[in-house]
Symmetry: C3
Subunit: 669 residues, 3 copies
Amino acid sequence: MDKLLFGVAYYDEYMPYDRLDKDVQMMKSAGINVVRIAESTWSTEEPQDGVYDFSHIDRVLNAMHAAGIQVIVGTPTYAIPTWLVKAHPDVLAITPNGQNRYGARQNMDISNTNFRFYAERIIRKLIDHVKNHPAVIGYQVDNETKPYNTSGPEVQQLFVQYMQAKYPSLDSLNKAFGFDYWSNRINNWNDFPSTVGTINASLAGEFAKFQRMLVTNYLAWQTAIVNEYKQPGQFITHNFDFEWRGFSYGIQPDVDHFAAAKALDIAGVDIYHPTQDHLTGTEISFGGDMARSMKNGKNYLVIETEAQGFPQWVPYPGQLRLQAFSHIASGANMLEYWHWHSIHNSAETYWKGLLSQDFEPNPTYEEAKTIGKDFARLSNHLVNLKKTNKVAILFSNEALTGFNAFGFGWGAPGNYNDVLRPMYDALYRMNIGCDFVDPTSTTIENYQLLIVPALYAAPDSLLQRLNRFVKNGGHIVYSFKSGFSNENVKVRSTRQPGIINEACGIYFSEFTLPENAGLKDDPFKVGKPNNSIQRWMELITPTTAKVLAWYDHPVWGKYAAITENHYGKGLATYMGCMPGDVLLQKILQDAVTKAGLWGTDQQWAFPIITKYGVNENGKTVHYYFNYAATPATIIYPYANGTALLANEPVRKNQQLTLAPWGVTIIEEK
Amino acid sequence: MDKLLFGVAYYDEYMPYDRLDKDVQMMKSAGINVVRIAESTWSTEEPQDGVYDFSHIDRVLNAMHAAGIQVIVGTPTYAIPTWLVKAHPDVLAITPNGQNRYGARQNMDISNTNFRFYAERIIRKLIDHVKNHPAVIGYQVDNETKPYNTSGPEVQQLFVQYMQAKYPSLDSLNKAFGFDYWSNRINNWNDFPSTVGTINASLAGEFAKFQRMLVTNYLAWQTAIVNEYKQPGQFITHNFDFEWRGFSYGIQPDVDHFAAAKALDIAGVDIYHPTQDHLTGTEISFGGDMARSMKNGKNYLVIETEAQGFPQWVPYPGQLRLQAFSHIASGANMLEYWHWHSIHNSAETYWKGLLSQDFEPNPTYEEAKTIGKDFARLSNHLVNLKKTNKVAILFSNEALTGFNAFGFGWGAPGNYNDVLRPMYDALYRMNIGCDFVDPTSTTIENYQLLIVPALYAAPDSLLQRLNRFVKNGGHIVYSFKSGFSNENVKVRSTRQPGIINEACGIYFSEFTLPENAGLKDDPFKVGKPNNSIQRWMELITPTTAKVLAWYDHPVWGKYAAITENHYGKGLATYMGCMPGDVLLQKILQDAVTKAGLWGTDQQWAFPIITKYGVNENGKTVHYYFNYAATPATIIYPYANGTALLANEPVRKNQQLTLAPWGVTIIEEK
Amino acid sequence: MDKLLFGVAYYDEYMPYDRLDKDVQMMKSAGINVVRIAESTWSTEEPQDGVYDFSHIDRVLNAMHAAGIQVIVGTPTYAIPTWLVKAHPDVLAITPNGQNRYGARQNMDISNTNFRFYAERIIRKLIDHVKNHPAVIGYQVDNETKPYNTSGPEVQQLFVQYMQAKYPSLDSLNKAFGFDYWSNRINNWNDFPSTVGTINASLAGEFAKFQRMLVTNYLAWQTAIVNEYKQPGQFITHNFDFEWRGFSYGIQPDVDHFAAAKALDIAGVDIYHPTQDHLTGTEISFGGDMARSMKNGKNYLVIETEAQGFPQWVPYPGQLRLQAFSHIASGANMLEYWHWHSIHNSAETYWKGLLSQDFEPNPTYEEAKTIGKDFARLSNHLVNLKKTNKVAILFSNEALTGFNAFGFGWGAPGNYNDVLRPMYDALYRMNIGCDFVDPTSTTIENYQLLIVPALYAAPDSLLQRLNRFVKNGGHIVYSFKSGFSNENVKVRSTRQPGIINEACGIYFSEFTLPENAGLKDDPFKVGKPNNSIQRWMELITPTTAKVLAWYDHPVWGKYAAITENHYGKGLATYMGCMPGDVLLQKILQDAVTKAGLWGTDQQWAFPIITKYGVNENGKTVHYYFNYAATPATIIYPYANGTALLANEPVRKNQQLTLAPWGVTIIEEK
């Protein structure tokens, strides 16, 4: 990327009247230099089977080009036209709740042959049509793709073929998956039952892997098609999203982000998050760290984020700017709002864009103008920020699926992301930068400290690799339930925590749920209200480990809650329970300190957030964010530099004031 | 109607043993002079296809007539017989949840050809059979009719025909409904997808209109059939009901009451409401005002209301009387309990009648006897009460459906009636009598003050008419979200509030949800706990309007919450948020006062409720109700008259004591 | 039974590696002398249609026999193999939610012809194969059988045949079930609609009876097959379970326990219950009293109970012993944990056995070893304990189904067991031993005091029998809603409470729900917070009854809440409302005292629980349990004896100390 991109999704198709020239003019005023188009308008582009109409595309490409605005063209396949469903009803996915109905996007079976046929045809037509237009800088294949729980008979057949290839012997499959239980044995491939009713977490976990593979293959297939047309200088991306809790919360359960991103040139994500009094920047940082990690540190695109968004998200003055620079501080090279104008009909009327339905300038748009101006002015200082972290979080879709099959107990709320996110959030609040790795990552050994939440399902080889990581001098913090089962969600029949007990120097055979339990003698000095355990409670006996905390409980007080163990040249910390946020942060602070990573930036903590990286000129850039409604002051501790936004010199140890929801960016000399 | 009717629903068919003579005797003792029969007993009247048995009907008609009790005969079509379903399973409606099962009432597709055939046949047979019986004073067509969400393939086909007629051009339909969004364009009528899965609120809203039209047409069809048999002096009514929240709460979403009532001679409703410590009379007043408004001020029938009802509704001593006269004070000419005896089998065993299953006299029955006696004695003073109001509430089914598609935000509780009812309730508590009007009403211009809750979807013409109403001297109080979208639930692309901003002298482009927000400086003097905003928050800028209240919020304090604007000769008040009940009442008090309508009766407020009207003799009758468990005193402020219940003279300025749950009725001399 | 049995469920089929010898050795160390096998492993025993493999069975039988451990062999029919479903999809039950899917156990239609064919074949093959093995002491037919709500077209056909046989006249059926209501009349058997959609509680109740009959017949059918092979000395049992609320809570709604147990030689049950701070012993006592009552006082088998169980159930030290002897004190002759080892795959991974998945000795296993040792040492003192009670609780599946059709009002939580269990629990807390009887019991008249919760649906004959019971000197405590409807859930048209009003000397015609209501003047001296009514409120007028408590309420204070009436030689107490637990216990204490049953053991109350019985040597054995985390002391009041666990003499009036969660067993000399 040669500059910071600032943009919006733009839908000429949806306009109540011809707005194009006026919109382009208003975009230019706001410093917008890129738009994304076409990703959900198949029925406009191909109004009938084999009849094409790219007039909206052409209009927009020409108008944008004339204004110097670049365009990313999306393939339109994630929302299907009425005529396709009428002609081929089987394109609608069959899920455990029956066959999907027409209406919403993302209702199709992405493995369906008919869907693939028509999808390929429109992709080829569209991309061939636009590929040489000078406005086009890249392509987005599909959008927020997931398997949508497709699990009908055709998918089942594909799955059985996949299983036959992976497990040539039914006997070993029965053994590995424990099918003797409840008479589930499969003694003939023809008997293979639908996975829909299964109560076997091994089978459900394997089917989830298969479904994630469908996504990986589907995106690779689209990418391969587009690659046939792609011109030099153009890129291909995709818009990945996260576990949704009314906002972008955690690891996406349905997609292997690292695997799926392999086919792409550049990673893209959407990041939606609370604002107003609930704006913390955590999701911006989390989603950004994940997106940057997808392509091993390469800068990424924020393809969607909110301008006004939901009614409760209308930003306070300053927040839109704060958010924008937070994205850039995590390594984003593009920030694109969904969307330019607010929709006048249909489901997302109250998911508002930069403009309201009245197309009038409004406070959010006015603030965006200041961002566009600063992006343009500072682009060569801010673009392509390189970030190098010594801490990584090891996540695993395999572990996630296995963990979520059982969670914290029958009917108890909470899933894998309720372990991972609190650990991430504690790092964020302490200004500890981190990357994400997954079991396929070759870079795990590059880090000094690994955070490993709930690695519930993992092959022996991964756990042995983690043991070696510690032996060779690495630090690891494990949560409870790590190592518990193998890659088939079969609980290990050896001592727990499986295999990693070697590095951790502990074992446990029983576990329970905490009730009025805490840590004995408040070992992390958090005070009584914070010194409590929220979830899970492994009854740990140390072998070689040092006990950092015993349980505070009349019966379970003889068991360890948190331990650390020197193993080889490294240190392994094990947390047998889920503490509250304050306690968790202290535990991780202790681990970070022992890993020798407690540095200058740790003098601040949330709501003061700092990020840094090295820009294209080789200079270090420090971002200081104030995620609060009150002003804050800090003493700038690094070499003399320039406050880029104010364009003023800053000296080491100079006191800086951060406005409410304010940001300062300092480039060292 | 030549007298007040006091009655019950009576089901000879359900009796565990022959009770008819005993029941008639007990009815006579209670002053009952009308019964409703037959509305859900098709399977008894036509036990097999084409086999008829009207013996229960005949028995009851004869016995009632002999006792001087009149009879309303219901067509039995809202509960279908087993043989019909066996022969024609397609009569069971297909809804988004699949096809209905046999068992409950109201499970049929009212547009189904087979259902219509058999329904017509039994209606003709029954009505022809009874039409000349001297006991019969009228007919009820069907019961609590609604579309029951019928939406199977046959209904879909009718809907597509309706759409083809209404929108000859698919292009303009696609534009009007925003079908380009998410690839929903329909480029060929053959591709029209089922509405069941739609995410398009314009389409869903249109389908809801179509479904309401099915009800209008169905009731008109039944009425036309019955009209062929109806004898002079007989009437046709229907039993309309309301949004159900465990009791009759608000506007019925599934029926256009005004349209459906056109075919009828007289309006009928059922009104169920909490009692005991939760009896307020609000639902009696609300349902009555709506029923009276259905036929433009004509007196109406309360076809069903509770005697004992649910276990928690067994009335306290006095409450049954209080309720009875409350109905009459709103303009009812009939009060009919559902039902005479409590059912011994099936679903409504615990929805108890005047008698329990033991048929013994009980306290509720004993109190009913006093009502019957007073009704008979005072009939010519109370019947045909004429009411004239200067305030009306403008409701709209179109707006309701549009509003409810989005409500107060994704997942937030509350719907259209949660705006309308609090506004109605505030008027009720202040003893401001009101009528209802809808967009088809020709009488809107007759009122001095219009209350307009959440007029979310409305054609330009209606909003322009409302602007003219103000210009010509009218007063309007609008709530938030009024004018927001057009009749197709397409958000206006002009300034908000759409079109009415002209009369209101304001605009807004952004809105949010309130969090710890109130009104600055407590402008309505309600005290801190009451001075808060419950829901929604439009960020209003006045143009010509005067600001009645600014938001009290650290960020949004620069925006107006409530405004008023002189426009032409009138005044338009706009409320950009939903206040709590106390605050809302003060806001409406202010509007009522400015409209010059704050009068003598406003010296009292709930729990003292007063109603008035003019009787057949041209005399004004004042009702005073005490909706409280403690006695109250009032000074009677009008001309000398007669306390009808006590049959005592009352002088102007005389002090009157109202018993707990008591009522006094004074006819001016 | 010639000795106490101590065992586990054992699944050689599920083992991750060959553990048999090691497991047998660890079982022997724990004193385990019985295992249950094979009840859910059909797919292992018959891997393909007609192909049998009993190698796991044989291995286990041989190994157990060699170690002197006895075996109960289960028929494997409650979990069906994949090949059977592939060949005959109709074996999967059709329920109101559609056809079941493959995966879980208990998904079949137990009345299905194909299922019966294959079930019979595997039963015959298996039982024939094992019947002569010397390890085999008995058989369990199926497991936790219920109708699983099977209600597809085939079942419907069987039901209509059953109805035709039971109600030869449709007219009388229509009358009895009130089918005239809502046009539900059936005028031709061919019109009989599916019960699935019914809103008629009489029909739903009859269908529930029919479904329970399917279970009775199915278990009798399996038993008859096994009986063809059963050898002398072998027994047949079944594993019944209870209403499940995350643990074994109350009467099983779906099975007539007394009817279904008739075919068996010995009753078996599973009992799961909370532990840790929530261990009370109530479910152990409740489930045991029910199991013992199934075969009229005969000792029973606890076929399943938890060792570790759910994570939150890991027992505190001492609790596993406390639980074990509590079962024996209720008359159990066997205690079998589900299960030996914790499952490594699938749904019940977190329903842990005696061993964790690591197969290592753990604290729970270590405590089990002490139980096994004491069972063996004390077997001839403890086995075959005979218990004789003077109090019985009359339960009724018919009443349960009828009550639950309406419960405490539309949408109100709570069902029949929420009346029965609090009444049982109060007796338990007061150490009043009791049996269960149902309407078919011939022993009702043997008791001095009957507790009758919510006998909502009952034939006249039963109520008349209960009147005679009182007349002849018996005491009864009725709850509200008793006698309300007949066996067809038709509310009586005579005075309430129906028929029993004669013995109770009261009547009521109206009822309501309590709101801020209690009992006037705290007649049971429980203090204000406890003196409140939780649910239901019949407005009772005494005729001959003495009023024990009037309602405390401004309006309903003139009605009686609790009454007692001398009738003949006996006393009938009637409770018109549901009090809280403390108040209820006082009410029952009063009744117990008036029945002359307040004895020595009533000096203690929960958490001190005492049970007693007579052992095979004719000696009385007293159990004292301390269900608390703190120690307790008691004065032993009976004849000199021996503390069996400590093997020490105990003298009358000696002070005994009970450890936290401790138990003492004293056999009188």
